[in-house]
């Protein structure tokens, strides 16, 4: 009886909407037989992860408070107060990591199988923008955690934006909702993360899927079978006619297995490793130094740490434009010809090199020298040789150095962080002017402390650093003449 009732409802719905009739041909459309392969599941796996992100994200948004003074607390509540709230956060976090990862694998597969070539150029370009949107989601999501990492990530983002010639300050204003990171910044990022980018993502995704259906799944590339703009479509039709299989269930089964596997993997990771952070309340008055971006940005972070300072602005501003431009132009640069990776050694090599570089940089990013020593400021003593015989002002300078957490990045007497150069002997390398400039303006991966130090603190700090030179080496001086200013 209930069975019959359900069938009746289904029939009624189908009669009024006609959705079933519209969807059946989609599910049943024929695809080349060899594409029913596990090589072709990464796209749908990414889609599954996206669905998981939407589901967990909506649940999180029910509790999350996007205001500067409550965001952190609401995450702490999710972690400890709400039943399984931590699991929700963990699933969203690991889901985002997995989505980026699987999406990159999908792109690599598409690249190596030549699937971006004629006539699927637009599908590829759409995919490039989907990648950008996903990275945008990852970045804005990290900011919503609103902890010290978020603060740091934003600080770096803002300092990159501020280097854009001419429009820099305006760009920072748009990004942060003001000249500094504050409550408005969070509202802005919340809107972008929850409304703007997801809407864009879904629209692009719709277009992407439509294109896949319209142009057909890329056939298995055969070495020697070249893509010719004149004949390709006809040959593809013929192959599907001759040797096609219905997408559902033959190919779809593998997709579904893969989708279940990635989602399960995310849930298991979430259960075993738990949520990420929030790590420490962001206190805008203390420049915190826990620059640990989520792993997909780690390689960028290592790259910036390694780049010589003078190339940085150029690479930061030009690099992304070139990279995106190249990805978009790719299907037009090599839109026809050989598809099989067996006959495209150059492409394979390029992909391998990029992977290797990103992998190596990620490795470097995770190893300690690039990440500061969190308790360096209170746990690493100022070596007594730098205390004895110093003036009261210089001693206060040493205290500022500790308090402002310079030691988290800089070592003295072999103790302290290794992110910046050791400060022993810094006075014989830099003049007083250069020391002041470095502290106030930062640069070369060091935050600018200008707004966070009082004039007296700067004076004391620099006075102390000027005592850091080997006994037999003189203090560096400007050629212009005697040093000026107080003291």
């Amino acid at each position: 009886m209930p069975m019959r009732f359900a069938t009746a409802i289904a029939k009624w719905l189908e009669d009024r909407t006609g959705l079933g009739a519209a969807l059946t041909p989609i599910l049943g459309h024929t695809v080349p037989r060899r594409t029913a392969s596990f090589w072709y599941v990464f796209g749908s796996s990414t889609l599954a992860l996206f669905a998981l992100q939407v589901a967990t994200g909506v649940c999180l948004a029910l509790v999350y408070v996007p205001s500067a003074d409550q965001a952190y607390q609401s995450l702490v509540y999710l972690n400890h107060g709400a039943h399984l709230g931590w699991f929700l956060r963990a699933a969203h976090f690991w889901g985002s990591n997995a989505m980026v990862l699987v999406l990159v694998v999908h792109m690599l597969q598409v690249f190596l199988f030549g699937a971006y070539k004629y006539p699927r150029e637009l599908t590829w370009i759409c995919g490039v923008f989907l990648l950008l949107c996903t990275l945008g989601m990852a970045f804005t999501g990290q900011v919503l955690r609103w902890d010290q990492d978020a603060y740091w990530g934003l600080g770096i983002g803002a300092s990159i934006a501020s280097r854009a010639p001419g429009i820099g300050p305006g760009l920072v204003h748009v990004l942060l909702g003001g000249p500094i990171i504050g409550g408005r910044t969070l509202s802005r990022f919340f809107t972008v993360h929850v409304f703007l980018v997801p809407a864009l993502l879904m629209a692009l995704l719709g277009l992407h899927l439509w294109l896949v259906l319209r142009l057909g799944v890329n056939e298995w590339p055969m070495p020697g079978r070249l893509v010719d703009r004149e004949t390709y479509r006809k040959r593809y039709e013929e192959e599907v006619q001759r040797d096609g299989v219905p997408f559902f269930p033959l190919a779809a089964r593998k997709d579904m297995i893969a989708m279940a596997a990635v989602v399960l993997a995310v849930l298991v990771c979430a259960a075993l490793f738990g949520p990420h952070g929030p790590r420490g309340f962001p206190d805008p008055t203390v420049i915190d130094t826990a620059p640990r971006p989520d792993f997909f940005f780690l390689w960028l972070f290592a790259l910036f740490a390694l780049l010589p300072a003078w190339t940085e602005t150029f690479i930061l501003l030009v690099g992304p434009v070139v990279a995106i431009g190249f990805l978009v132009a790719l299907p037009f640069l090599s839109g026809a010809g050989e598809k099989s990776w067996l006959r495209r050694p150059g492409s394979v090599l390029a992909a391998l090199l990029i992977l290797l570089a990103i992998g190596t940089l990620t490795g470097l990013g995770t190893t300690s020298p690039w990440s500061p020593l969190m308790d360096g400021w209170s746990a690493t003593p100022v070596p007594p040789i730098y205390v004895k015989g110093r003036s009261a002002l210089e001693l206060r300078g040493a205290l500022v150095l500790q308090f402002k957490q310079c030691r988290n990045c800089h070592s003295l007497g072999g103790e302290g962080g290794l992110r910046g150069p050791a400060l022993d002997g810094v006075a014989s390398r830099l003049t007083r002017d250069q020391l002041i400039r470095q502290v106030l303006q930062g640069g070369g991966n060091m935050p600018a402390y200008g707004k966070n130090l009082s004039p007296a603190e700067v004076t004391a700090l620099v006075a102390f650093m000027q005592t850091l030179h080997p006994v037999d080496e003189p203090v560096a001086r400007t050629a212009a003449g005697p040093l000026l200013g107080p003291r």
Binding site: H83, A90, A271, T478
Partner: protein
């Protein structure tokens, strides 16, 4: 299709199991965050607490650091334990001594702060050495700067120079930037407890004529009178002329 059916039944059972697992409140999976990382590793060990939270500024062994030597029997005899507790909890505003209490945004719990206070008193104080001596009070109001100048000339000038701008055995102590970064109590603490690790004597001085509490207040007032209303940024843009 028999195989398909049993497969479906298998995965269905698996799903139900997984769901039951989470929904029925199996809330003790390894990924569940600990109440707080610090609390998990909560230590009451004085040595560890001191080494991770204080050694950076007060020195590895409580002396020869840039901030006051806490490993000093004279200081520990003078300071009331409640004051120690309060300073660690609330810090000294405007200086590098931050508030360490959890409620004040620091990282130490009430019992940990108590462990620090008791640890310092147990290890570093020495009641015997000061037995029977009249000790100046730890705190006191600011005195009269003019009388302070006289106290300075007799008790301090020999080391810090005639004007306080530095002399044979001590450096400048009236620098406006220094004075902007130090509290009145810290000045008093140095004057009465000294910095024996650096060669600065306590209230008993070097010549056997101890400072009275009033003289201490006066000389601190004299130092404080050198504070500048506005302390300028160091100049660095361009050499003048």
């Amino acid at each position: 299709m028999r195989r398909g059916a049993s497969q479906r039944a298998g995965s269905g059972a698996f799903l139900v199991l997984m769901l039951g697992f989470f929904v029925l409140g199996c809330d003790s999976l390894p990924g569940r965050p600990k109440e707080s990382a610090e609390e998990a590793a909560q230590s009451m060990d004085f040595e560890l607490l001191y080494a991770t939270h204080c050694a950076g500024c007060h020195g590895a062994d409580g002396n020869l650091g840039p901030a006051l030597d806490l490993h000093d029997p004279v200081y520990l005899a003078l300071v009331p334990p409640n004051r120690l507790r309060a300073v660690i909890e609330d810090g000294v505003p405007g200086t590098a001594m931050t508030a360490f209490a959890k409620e004040r945004g620091g990282s130490l719990t009430e019992p940990q702060i108590e462990a620090l206070v008791q640890g310092m008193l147990a290890r570093w104080s020495d009641a015997q050495s000061l037995r029977g001596m009249a000790l100046p009070p730890y705190a006191g109001p600011l005195g009269d700067p003019r009388r302070g100048a006289e106290v300075y000339a007799t008790a301090c000038g020999s080391c810090h120079g005639g004007e306080g701008r530095g002399g044979k055995k001590g450096h400048d102590i009236v620098d406006s930037s220094y004075l902007a970064l130090v509290s009145d109590q810290a000045l008093r603490s140095v004057v009465i407890a000294g910095r024996t690790d650096l060669g600065m004597p306590d209230w008993r001085g070097t010549r056997g004529s101890p400072l009275t509490s009033q003289q201490g207040s006066d000389v601190v007032a004299w130092l404080a009178a050198h504070r500048a209303p506005v302390v300028g940024r160091p100049i660095f843009e361009k050499p003048r002329g």
